[in-house]
């Protein structure tokens, strides 16, 4: 089971760890501030707290974080360590891994699964809603808020808790220096860092359009491209001036998401050539689908299938329909979709429209032995006011838990609330009645986005029409 916001970190061979129950040496793979992985194996006892925090802080700095970000990551690690050492995990073996050197540093805690109470990952954990006195779970919540991304997964009887902190980047200049217009494009190529920077500046200067949050910091995207997270193609004129571009990155194991294509005075043919370049690079790859949730006006519609739309509430209170597009990259071999009866008409209709061969399997009863508590993870896009919830664990309190999430998130100013249900994992379907009861409605299917397809719900309850505070 996994509740990740991005793919699980790669497993590291145990031989790379020093597994004594006492503080161990720090192993460094490569030069500081270059991509590297550092590891510590330690027993979960309070007396090793300063070792843990010292390791994380020094690793974060060595991997390129500045003081402020390194301190945030260290504080988050401290909270996690205390939570684990004081709880059921006390005296268990803990492995800590610091990865990074590019645009981010990630700390991964690995320990036996049975030692963790997953409920603490609910952002509505009782500790923060004011219902109770602060509890140990508050530490986890603090940790979650100190970092940019928090991911959780379980495998082989162990949990992996990964916290990532981004390097600080200056925001893109709102009034960039004037860039000379590009002439007619003659070549499609992979951009170097300078060309990518130029392309991103041009994208930022576009009069309108919804962009991924990190596009606001061009330096970060350039670093992410250097780390292989983003890839891009640009169309350059005879003087190598980029007049169009397209970016893409992996989303999970099976999908790639593209952004653009962005044209600056170029013909529509260039958009097709950019997409052909991307599709050529994905041929014979492990990607099975290409997603586009940030379409540019010049997106060639015949290259994609319209999945549907999501609502986005603009700062002035108006509601915008955001289309999502998809292109299957391989021949569809069919799949099963676990299906709650209350969303079956939607699924049947959408699968028929999209012509996907899906065997809809009705959900069996969740049975009498139901866990009392459910767990959700939340991925935030603060600039856009969006939160995406994903289920981590099914439990009998799903309705109360979801209701609390909606209430808390709306109180915190998040108006666009989504819930992503993996139709390839039967247990997730049990959230359906609670979702419908809390105002979520099925909006679209993302094919192959999870273990199976992903059904995206959007909360439409009390959708505000007035301007945000």
């Amino acid at each position: 089971m996994s509740g990740l916001l991005s793919p699980a970190p790669s497993r590291t061979h145990p031989a790379n760890y020093l597994s004594a129950n006492r503080p161990s040496a720090i192993l460094m793979d490569t030069q500081p501030a270059r991509p590297a992985t550092l590891r510590l194996a330690v027993t979960l006892r309070r007396c090793f707290l300063s070792l843990c925090t010292g390791f994380v802080e020094q690793s974060a700095r060595a991997l390129g974080l500045r003081d402020r970000e390194a301190l945030s990551l260290t504080l988050a690690a401290e909270e996690i360590f205390i939570y684990l050492a004081d709880g059921a995990a006390s005296n268990q073996d803990l492995r800590i891994e610091c990865q990074g050197g590019g645009h981010e540093v990630t700390v991964i805690f690995t320990a036996p699964s049975h030692t963790l109470d997953l409920r603490a990952f609910n952002i509505t954990s009782r500790s923060i809603t004011g219902d109770d006195e602060p509890s140990a779970e508050l530490g986890l919540l603090i940790a979650a808020r100190m970092v940019d991304r928090l991911r959780f997964s379980q495998q082989g009887g162990e949990f992996h808790l990964a916290m990532s902190k981004d390097r600080a980047y200056p925001a893109a200049d709102a009034t960039p220096f004037p860039i000379p217009d590009a002439g007619p494009a003659v070549t499609i190529k992979e951009p170097d860092a300078a060309e990518l920077h130029l392309l991103l500046q041009r994208i930022q200067a576009l009069p309108s359009g919804r962009l991924p949050a990190e596009f606001a910091t061009t330096g970060k995207v350039v670093d992410m491209a250097a780390a292989g997270v983003y890839q891009a193609a640009v169309a350059v004129d005879a003087a190598a001036n980029p007049g169009a571009g397209l970016l893409w990155r992996r989303q999970g194991d099976r999908l790639v998401e593209c952004y653009g294509p962005y044209l600056f005075g170029q013909s529509a043919t260039i958009a097709r050539r950019l997409l052909d370049r991307l599709l050529g690079s994905l041929a014979k790859s492990r990607a099975v689908g290409l997603l586009c949730r940030y379409p540019a006006p010049d997106l060639p519609a015949d290259y994609f299938e319209a999945l549907g739309t999501l609502h986005h509430q603009a700062p002035d209170g108006s509601v915008i329909e955001i289309p999502a597009y998809y292109r299957q990259l391989i021949e569809d071999a069919g799949a099963i979709a676990w299906c709650h009866p209350e969303v079956q008409p939607f699924l049947t209709s959408e699968y028929r429209r999209l012509a996907f061969a899906r065997t809809q399997v009705p959900l069996a009863s969740s049975g009498a032995m139901v866990d009392p508590y459910s767990v959700l993870t939340a991925a935030f896009n603060r600039p856009a006011g969006e939160v995406t919830l994903r289920p981590l664990w099914w439990g009998a309190d799903a309705l109360a838990n979801l209701s609390a999430h909606v209430r808390v998130l709306r109180q915190e100013g998040f108006y666009d609330l989504f819930f992503e249900m993996d139709l390839g994992q039967a247990w997730q379907g049990h959230f359906t009645p609670a979702l419908l009861a809390t105002g979520f409605r099925p909006r679209l299917i993302l094919p192959n986005a999870g273990q199976g397809d992903t059904l995206v719900f959007q909360c439409e309850a009390q959708f505000e029409t007035e301007a945000r505070p």
Partner: protein, 369 residues
Amino acid sequence: MNPPPLDRLLPAYVRGFESYIPSKPDAELMRLYGCAQLHRLNNNENVLGPPPAAQEAIRGFSPPLAALYPSGDAWHLRQRLANRFGKDPDQFLVGNGANEVIGFVIKAFCEPGDNIVTADKTFAVYEWFATFSGIEARLVPLRDHGFDDQGMLDAIDARTKVLFVCNPNNPTGTYWDRDRLSRFLERVAGERIVVLDEAYCEFVEADDFPDGMGLIDDYPNLVIFRTFSKMYGLAGLRIGYLAGSLDLVNAIRRTCIVYSVNALAQLAAVAAVDDDAHVARTRALVRESKGLLREEVTQLGLPYVAGEGNFMMIQLPMSDTLAYRRLLHQGFMIRSMTGFRFPNWIRVSLARLEVMEGFVAALRTLIAR
């Protein structure tokens, strides 16, 4: 017991390779897509089936013989091929489909650090086999839908061992004529192995199409691939072969898997190889179906590429993988071409006229949506 540490055990070039998932069996596809019939127009199979003598040989196969190993090096078939092409039997190596002989050649000549050169939009197995063997595949873009001879020569470096030319090319049907092929071989100057994959050569009716077998004596670095899967209708039995100069084939024999070709396939191939009437009948069928499909897609205003071979490529105003699904719902299975780096194109195998008429009707429905 813990699962094996695959990340550590698998070489990086295997870890990064995506396995090919073949399509499901007909009955399963029909269930999934809710169609009452299924016409496979995706694999360029011969709808006439094997030649009559090969069918007779298959029917006459005595089941108890299945207990015996086949000829380990397809002795009888190599005699028959030698007789047909005027060569020594040892100039032939027979494999479990032409796919296997691709592996023989790459394994014989390449080691990590070496490279092969071929086209970016051609039969994928040259690239696949090289890639998952740790060999770089240098892919030269097609020029006017055909192999770019100059581009391939430019891609050669000191570590280039093998150049693969698919003639006629799958999926475009373009081919190098005699002069162009000879010029290319002269410029390679015997320094590297040149593979001429002639899987579809028996379908070609053009007068200037080169006979690869006839060039072997002049170019001892030339390897010819042929198959019984296409024209001879034996795809289900998996049998193909390579031919070349004696020294070259003796070198490749070191990496040849003996006993990999089953007895029934060998029997059927021996019976099929001299049936020129079957070739003529198939060519007539393909000619007629290709004419019909060209006319119909022209009326629909769809661009197409119809070269040599029992297939055509058609460009659609939509994603080819979406077209694949919608056509399957109507009972027609085509090959989507995004994986061939031809986005929004489909490749259609040419079948009997009545099937092609049904396909055209399904295509009209698809376009009309």
